[in-house]
Structures are given as structure tokens and as C-alpha cells.
């Protein structure tokens, strides 16, 4: 191969990577530009830099109530899906259950269904049960679609898990319970937490399911933003989006920093 063709290949490689990164980051860049542009409607090119949309976002009670609700729901969903997804993964990988493959596919199925169908179905269930869209119903709906993420990452860790490590612990005098607490749990933790981060973001960003399950005056942030957009399309929407992105990013970074996700798991 000549030096020139190597260079051409390398160039194409960089160009492709650049295009992918641009494709992924462009929407965020556009939102950032709109969030900082002072015109009272979304327009291009920007005419200046202002913080007024962030001020408006944080000063609007409707936004703040919704943001607070979304955060609380996402944290509960994070915890629930780690618990349920982690336990399911352990049972599926270790339990010698008949039909484990089918069960895995079944638990993963909320990922295959359009979320709007899941939302509609849950809405009808709550109607039939004569429940008036309680917050826990919303949490159940989010958890349903969040669990598969934890399940998948935890199963990935368990697939590479050397069970001899647990046997070694048992031979050293650890009871089954202590083996679980001292060895199994710490070793699957990165997988559970990686899935938990996905679960948090899935809940925090959740729109189609929330749309069906939130009562009036009890809406999550994505629903409030959607309703707001129907009448106003100013920079507050962009500012809200920026805040959401930064919140999600800080959760990921925080967990990464605290737990050290990269330590034992390659995802």
C-alpha cells in the first residue's frame, strides 16, 4: 500500500468520525445558542448573549415544581430499577431457572415496545382500577422501561464473572450470605450502577409514558415543557433543555467519580 493511499484512508477515517461527532453534538450546540440568544423567539443567527432565559426558567414556579418532581421521580426510579434489575439479572444468570432465555427476553421487552403504547396501556389499567394517576403510578411506569437497562448491564458483568472467586470466598469460611455481600455485590456493582444511570436518564427524560400518567398540576418537566411549547417558543425552552442536559451529565460524572465505573467493567 502506498503512503498516499494510507493518508487517504486516514483522512476518510477522521472525516467520518468528525461527521459522527458533529451529528451527535449539533443539536446540543443549537440548543445552547438559542438558550443564550436574547431575541424573544427562537431565531438564527444569534444577536447576542444573555442569561435572561435561564433566569426566566428558574423564576417560573411551574418549571421549578416540575423539575423538582422529575428529579424525585428519577431518583426513586434509579433506586427501584437497580434493585429489581440487579435481582432479576442474578436470578436469570445464576438461578438455573427453566426458560431463562425466554424470561430474559420478556424482561427486556419494554425496550421493544413503543413507549407510547406502554403509556397508553398503563393509563387504561389505572383507569380500570379507578386510580387517579398517583405519583407512584408514574414511578411504576418509568421503572418498567428503566429496568431493562439495569438488567442488560448487570447480565453483561455476570457473563464475565469468574464464579471461582465466590468459591474461594466460601472456602475461606464465608457463609453464602457473606459471599454475596463481600464478593458478589461489590463485583456486580459497576454494572448495576451503569444501568442505574441509564434508568435515571430514561426517567428524567421520559415523555410518552409520563404524558398518559401525570395528573394536571402534577406534571413532570418534559410534559410541562411540551405544554409550554404549544403556546410559547422562547429561549426558556432551550434554557430548560440545557439545565436537563447538565443535570444528567453531572449525575453521570458524579457516579463515575464516586464509584469509578471503569474500574472493573467494560461496557
Amino acid at each position: 500500500m502506498s503512503a498516499r493511499s494510507v493518508d487517504a484512508g486516514r483522512l476518510a477515517y477522521y472525516a467520518l468520525n468528525g461527521a459522527i461527532i458533529a451529528f451527535l453534538l449539533a443539536p446540543i450546540a443549537i440548543v445552547a445558542v438559542f438558550a443564550l440568544n436574547p431575541t424573544p423567539y427562537i431565531s438564527f443567527p444569534p444577536v447576542g448573549v444573555t442569561g435572561r432565559w435561564f433566569v426566566k426558567f428558574f423564576a417560573t414556579d411551574d418549571f421549578m415544581v416540575a423539575l423538582w418532581l422529575s428529579l424525585r421521580v428519577a431518583v426513586v426510579v434509579l433506586l427501584l430499577s437497580m434493585l429489581i434489575g440487579g435481582a432479576c439479572a442474578l436470578a436469570l444468570a445464576r438461578g438455573r431457572l427453566p426458560g431463562a432465555r425466554f424470561l430474559t427476553a420478556f424482561f427486556m421487552s419494554p425496550l421493544m415496545l413503543p413507549a407510547i403504547l406502554t403509556g397508553l396501556a398503563l393509563f387504561q389499567v389505572f383507569q380500570l382500577a379507578e386510580l387517579d394517576r398517583p405519583v407512584w403510578g408514574l414511578i411504576v411506569g418509568h421503572t418498567l422501561v428503566a429496568v431493562p437497562y439495569v438488567l442488560r448491564t448487570t447480565l453483561a458483568v455476570l457473563a464475565n464473572f469468574d464464579t471461582r472467586v465466590e468459591e474461594a470466598a466460601a472456602s475461606l469460611g464465608a457463609s453464602p450470605m457473606r459471599v454475596f455481600v463481600e464478593v458478589t455485590l461489590p463485583l456486580i456493582r459497576p454494572g448495576v450502577i451503569a444501568g442505574g444511570i441509564f434508568a435515571f436518564i430514561v426517567s428524567f427524560d421520559q415523555f410518552p409514558i409520563s404524558l398518559f400518567l401525570v395528573p394536571p398540576k402534577g406534571e413532570t418537566l418534559p410534559v410541562v415543557l411540551f405544554n409550554y411549547m404549544k403556546f410559547d417558543l422562547d429561549g426558556a425552552i432551550a434554557a430548560a433543555s440545557m439545565v436537563s442536559i447538565l443535570l444528567a451529565l453531572s449525575v453521570v460524572l458524579l457516579l463515575e467519580r464516586v464509584i469509578g465505573l471503569k474500574a472493573y467493567v467494560k461496557l
Binding site: 469468574d162 472467586v165 468459591e167 470466598a169 466460601a170 472456602s171 475461606l172 469460611g173 464465608a174
Partner: protein, 355 residues
């Protein structure tokens, strides 16, 4: 579970132990063994022979379908793993990747709720024993394979188990390191006086390290004996063939003489063999190369492999047979390929095989 009440080593008895997986082929088929206290005992055989399953039943990771297992006289067949008080070393090391070297070694002592000061002291002593003092704060991922296996060894011996079980512990190491670890492990075992059960498929390793060896095949014990006995006096065709290289002859015992398939009488003494069909075997180093007319069998040198201290000749005999003969390298040039030669051995060096 206090280790002070236990002797430094214990005997192990397997009594008619069987195990099958999924109710199909018997992985271990009616195995009985008596391992003496302080003995270095190897379970040797090809993969699938049942050696690892036997070890795992002693450890308590598998429950036998039939038979009893006794350690130090006590029946432990139904005792769970964590109450058996045995050290275990795995081929894959099985260190806790999320803990430091010192924490790994301390694990068993922590499970025994020993005082912190004693744990610290014994961890330091165990690490010194495996020449890893100074590595306390490393993580397993930062160590070489040999170092990791030393940590695993320290972790197993620090609880002062009366029995140490090793499942191909040196299998993942390169040859050079393996040999030095063989020496160290043997040394350590003698120092501690612990009963050591060692699983390996490597016959050289088993011969070099063991006090006694059980050769296993298809779930059964073929022969138990000291290394020299196993090598010089294999009882079955399988043992003869599995341990080292050997020349096998099928034939019949007729009036105290062994008649090979081609009608020649071969040097061998009957030694209690039953008259009728039988087999004898001769190690390559016991076969002398002589002139074609003087040998018990004759053939032509097909290849000469220089092994350093010895030369291994492959000799093509009549009837598409091949034989092996080893000569010590005394500095002379190897015999040329194509030379017609005879092979001869002492009657006493021909091993009589059962079936």
C-alpha cells in the same frame, strides 16, 4: 472453626465416591482413596477424567451422589464449604479483584473474626512466606500471573488449614516460572506439614512434586503409587501410555514366555500374569540399541530427536510398528537415520500390564 483446635494436617479418605452430572456419564465412578496426613498427593489424568470433580467434592463445591468423604476421621460429606476449613488454590487464581493484596490474604481471618492485630501479623507473615512482603497495597490487577498465584497461596495458607487443595495451580504460568513455583510449593508444603491434594494433567509435574499419585481415567482410579512406582511399574495400559513414552507389545503368555503378535519371544518375566493374551511395555530409556541380529526386535532408524541430555530414536519395525529408544548423549554423534538396528532390554525392565 478455630484453627487452633485442629492438627497441622489431616488425613483424607474417599470411600466409594461417585458423581454424575445431569444423571448421565459418571464423572467420578466409585473412587476410594486414602491420603495420609502431610502427604503431597496428586490426582493426575487427562481432562474429563474426574480429577477436578473429585477435588471439588473434597472442597465441598460438589456433593457426591454416593460414598462418604472423611477428613481427620470426621465425616464431612454433608458439611457446607465454608465450615470445612480447607485452603483452596485455583488455576484462575480467583483473587478478589476489588481488594488489595493484604485484604485478599486477610479475608479468611476476617471471616473467623480474629482480632485486628493478629490478622495484621499473620497476613504479614503469610506474605513473607510467599516472598511478597511489600506488595500489601497492590491490587491483583497490578501483579504478574506468578505473583497473583502467590497471593492466592498466601490467602489459602494463612488460615492454617489442615488440608490444602490445588486445582492446576500452575497451569496458567509459563514453563520457567512453573518449575520454580513447583519447587517453592513443595518446599512450603513440607514446611507447613499440610496435607496437599494437587490436581494436574501434567505428568512431569506430578512426578516431580508428589509423594504419591493417583492416575485417573474415565472417572476411575487406575493406579495409586509413588512417582517411581507409577513410572517404572505401571499396572494398566492406560497408565503406561499416559505417563511418559513407552513401547507396548500385545501378545500371549505361553509356558512362562511372552510371545509377541509376530511370533517372536520377547524378554519378560511373567510376574503373576495370567496365561493367555497379555501385554508388556518397555520404556525407551530401558531399550538398548544393538546390532540388528542381536535384538529382540529389529527395525530401521526413522528419526533421531536431539533432546539435549538424550537422543530419542524412532525406529520403524516390521508390520507398520514404531518403537522408541532413548540413549544418553555421551558426546558422540547421533546414529544416522536409516541404520538397521535391533532393540534389546533386560527381562526385569519389561513391565507386565493387566489387560
Amino acid at each position: 472453626m478455630t484453627d487452633h483446635s485442629l492438627p497441622a494436617s489431616a488425613d483424607i479418605r474417599l470411600e466409594g465416591v461417585s458423581k454424575s452430572f445431569d444423571g448421565k456419564v459418571k464423572a467420578v465412578d466409585d473412587v476410594s482413596l486414602a491420603i495420609a496426613p502431610g502427604e503431597f498427593f496428586s490426582l493426575l489424568g487427562p481432562s474429563g477424567c474426574g480429577k477436578t470433580t473429585s477435588l471439588r467434592m473434597i472442597a465441598g463445591f460438589e456433593a457426591p451422589d454416593a460414598g462418604r468423604i472423611r477428613v481427620g476421621g470426621a465425616d464431612i460429606t454433608d458439611v457446607p464449604v465454608h465450615k470445612r476449613d480447607m485452603g483452596m488454590v485455583f488455576q484462575s487464581y480467583a483473587l478478589f479483584p476489588h481488594r488489595t493484596v493484604a485484604e485478599n490474604v486477610a479475608f479468611g481471618l476476617r471471616m473467623r473474626s480474629l482480632p485486628r492485630e493478629e490478622i495484621r501479623r499473620r497476613v504479614a507473615a503469610a506474605l513473607k512466606q510467599v516472598a511478597l512482603d511489600g506488595y500489601e497495597d497492590r491490587r491483583p490487577g497490578q501483579l504478574s500471573g506468578g505473583q497473583q498465584q502467590r497471593v492466592a497461596l498466601a490467602r489459602a495458607i494463612v488460615i492454617r488449614p489442615p488440608v490444602l487443595l490445588c486445582d492446576e495451580p500452575l497451569g496458567a504460568l509459563d514453563r520457567k516460572l512453573r518449575q520454580s513455583m513447583q519447587f517453592e510449593l513443595k518446599q512450603l508444603q513440607k514446611e507447613l506439614g499440610v496435607t496437599l491434594v494437587f490436581v494436574t494433567h501434567d505428568q512431569e509435574e506430578a512426578l516431580a512434586m508428589s509423594d504419591r499419585i493417583a492416575v485417573m481415567n474415565a472417572g476411575r482410579v487406575e493406579q495409586v503409587g509413588a512417582p517411581a512406582e507409577i513410572y517404572d511399574r505401571p499396572r494398566t495400559r492406560f497408565v503406561a501410555d499416559f505417563i511418559g513414552e513407552i513401547n507396548l507389545f500385545d501378545g500371549t503368555w505361553d509356558g512362562g514366555r511372552f510371545i509377541a503378535g509376530d511370533g517372536r519371544s520377547l524378554p519378560a518375566t511373567m510376574n503373576g500374569a495370567r496365561p493367555g493374551a497379555g501385554a508388556v511395555a518397555v520404556r525407551p530409556e530401558k531399550a538398548r540399541i544393538v546390532a540388528p541380529g542381536e535384538g529382540a526386535v529389529a527395525g530401521r532408524i526413522e528419526s533421531a530427536n536431539f533432546l539435549g541430555g538424550q537422543v530419542l530414536y524412532r525406529i520403524a519395525a516390521s508390520g507398520d510398528r514404531h518403537m522408541l529408544a532413548k540413549e544418553t548423549n555421551m558426546g558422540a554423534a547421533a546414529r544416522p537415520v536409516g541404520t538397521e538396528v535391533g532393540l534389546l532390554w533386560n527381562e526385569a525392565d519389561a513391565v507386565v500390564l493387566e489387560g
